[in-house]
């Protein structure tokens, strides 16, 4: 069987590569033009030095961590019990996994605001923050669940639990010394996707008037010319870091990582 690549393959690769890289290149080039006639990192310096950047970044970063923690606390037990004892719930969960895609971000935030209107949830800072985090947990749920579920299935959690129990392990030992060490990689992969989603999210944050990174980026575009491009490159770099690390970790996992985020 000949192993030479077909010329068509190279053509499609070229088209794809161009489509992917030209905008990145253009953005990078644009971002270096802050100083007239000279390539410099001035735009980056402005962005990274601005307190607004720092505050919004930290805000989103903290929210991302909180989202990951809540998500994990909710989903890990659920996935574990579904795998172990409640296989009948599986179709229900599969259906729920599709819900966040059926209800896009803007509809979700619209529904949240309308439904909880005139409750403390929409009237106070803290309340809207709860809504924000709750919405983010919902956004991340399909990916988190799939990552953890795949991990549990690949290690055959049920058989492992039974084996451990037959050797005399109690529930604590089973959960912390048998199950968790084997799925923490799946957890990490779910965490990285969640992180990327939350950091880049705009729709929900802006409609809930939160001082997040997304709205900050948008705000900048109305006042500055070159800084938005620098931000775009930084944001891309951040996403690359998150997803890249995810790929590194999930290479140790079966199943593939699917990533869909803010549009």
């Amino acid at each position: 069987m000949t192993r030479r690549a077909s010329p068509w393959a190279w053509l499609w690769l070229l088209i794809g590569a161009l489509y992917f890289f030209v905008p990145l290149f253009a953005t990078a080039q644009f971002s270096l033009k802050a100083k007239k006639d000279v390539l410099s990192f001035a735009a980056y310096q402005n962005v990274l030095g601005s307190p607004a950047f720092f505050q919004s970044f930290v805000f989103s970063f903290r929210t991302a961590l909180l989202t990951i923690v809540i998500s994990a606390l909710l989903i890990v037990p659920t996935a574990y019990w579904v795998n172990l004892r409640l296989p009948r719930l599986r179709p229900v969960i599969e259906f729920l996994t599709l819900l966040p895609i059926v209800v896009p971000a803007v509809v979700l935030v619209f529904a949240l605001i309308r439904t909880y209107n005139r409750t403390p949830l929409t009237d106070s800072r803290a309340g809207t923050y709860i809504l924000l985090t709750g919405a983010y947990v919902m956004l991340s749920f399909p990916y988190m669940y799939r990552a953890i579920d795949t991990g549990l299935r690949s290690i055959n959690a049920r058989t492992l639990t039974e084996a451990a129990q037959s050797l005399g392990a109690g529930w604590g030992t089973v959960l912390f010394r048998v199950i968790f060490p084997n799925i923490y990689i799946s957890l990490l992969s779910g965490a990285f996707i969640t992180f990327a989603i939350v950091m880049g999210e705009f729709t929900i944050a802006s409609l809930l008037s939160q001082p997040a990174f997304g709205p900050y980026m948008n705000l900048l575009s109305s006042s500055k010319v070159y800084e938005p491009s620098a931000l775009a490159i930084l944001s891309f770099g951040l996403t690359w870091l998150a997803i890249g690390l995810l790929q590194v970790f999930s290479r140790r996992l079966p199943g593939r990582a699917q990533i869909v985020g803010t549009k």
């Binding site: 690769l13 088209i15 794809g16 172990l84 895609i101 509809v107 309308r114 980026m217 549009k263």
Partner: protein, 300 residues
């Protein structure tokens, strides 16, 4: 004697023990369900219900009828067209790229780099993506300027803030999504099917026409549906490019606008808009779901 006693004592303990275990399991999943209900299911359901209620909580179809305004209809049509176009073009290019890296016999490192990049690119959307395309094909963009320098002026016929401007920006995250889903589907095409087909006398074209494409069809259709939904639900990118102004044409922006002009506009209208969106997304994702199940059945 001891055995009989054992048998008798076994029975009563068995039932409460299993019942107890079951209840622990249910307890484990209740917080999760409560959360989903509170933050997704109940609000969404509430909106659907409210769509059919008026201010006085009486059932009505007026909200739906209010959708029948020219700018709303045109917005839906515009969004549908945009989603369809980007799903088809992005899907086609994505499929060809997925083909190239799986069956194209390219060097191995290319496949993993493209897949990793697709993972990043499909998530690189919203505001930063809009910025990137402004820098590329905006008025001061790299391509715009390069073309101008050789005498081709794409403006004002083309505008990044018009239909095709939005489309090519959307396609940037549609292509990688297609690649991510179709690459494994193409991998699942067994080498032996191709060999068996050749063995029976088929040419490459006949193999694709009679075997490979029919096998891939459910995955192709399903993923295209997913891409459609993906574009239909997008808001941030369009917002960044069009500024969310009143003349913006994407339904998602209209819904967002409803939240900001609450006191003035018809609250029922927002519900109806959201409802319309949910309906369209349900059909789309339903189609995707059905296709995926069919694909799995064949490729087991």
């Amino acid at each position: 004697m001891a055995q009989t006693i054992g048998a008798e004592t076994d029975l009563p303990t068995a039932t409460p023990r299993t019942a107890f275990r079951l209840s622990w399991a249910w307890l484990g999943v209740v917080p999760f369900f409560a959360f989903v209900i509170a933050f997704l299911f109940y609000p969404a359901l509430s909106i659907v219900v409210q769509t059919f209620l008026d201010q006085g909580r009486n059932p009505t179809l007026q909200n739906i009828r209010d959708l029948n305004q020219p700018f709303i209809i045109s917005s839906y049509l515009y969004t549908i067209e945009l989603s369809a176009v980007t799903a088809l073009i992005g899907g086609a290019l994505g499929f060809l790229l997925a083909y190239a890296i799986t069956l194209g016999h390219l060097p191995v490192w290319i496949r993993s780099s493209i897949l990793t990049f697709s993972g990043v690119a499909s998530n690189f959307a919203g505001i930063p993506l809009a910025f990137a395309f402004i820098a590329t094909v905006g008025v001061q963009g790299l391509i715009t300027q390069s073309l101008k320098s050789i005498g081709i002026s794409i403006y004002p016929r083309f505008s990044l803030y018009s239909f095709w401007g939005l489309a090519i920006t959307y396609i940037y995250f549609q292509i990688p999504l297609m690649v991510l889903i179709m690459a494994p589907a193409l991998d699942a095409l067994k080498q032996e099917w191709r060999e068996a087909a050749e063995n029976l006398g088929a040419t490459s074209a006949q193999y694709w026409r009679h075997i490979a494409l029919p096998i891939l069809l459910p995955a192709l259709l399903g993923t295209t549906a997913l891409l459609f939904g993906n574009a239909f639900g997008a808001q941030a990118t369009a917002f960044a490019l069009t500024g969310g102004g009143a003349q913006s044409s994407v339904v998602t922006i209209l819904i967002g606008a409803q939240l900001n002009s609450d006191a003035l506009s018809n609250p029922g209208l927002g519900n109806a808009l959201a409802f319309g969106m949910i309906v369209i997304m349900t059909i789309t994702i339903g189609l995707y779901s059905v296709m995926r199940r069919m694909a799995e059945r064949w490729l087991q």
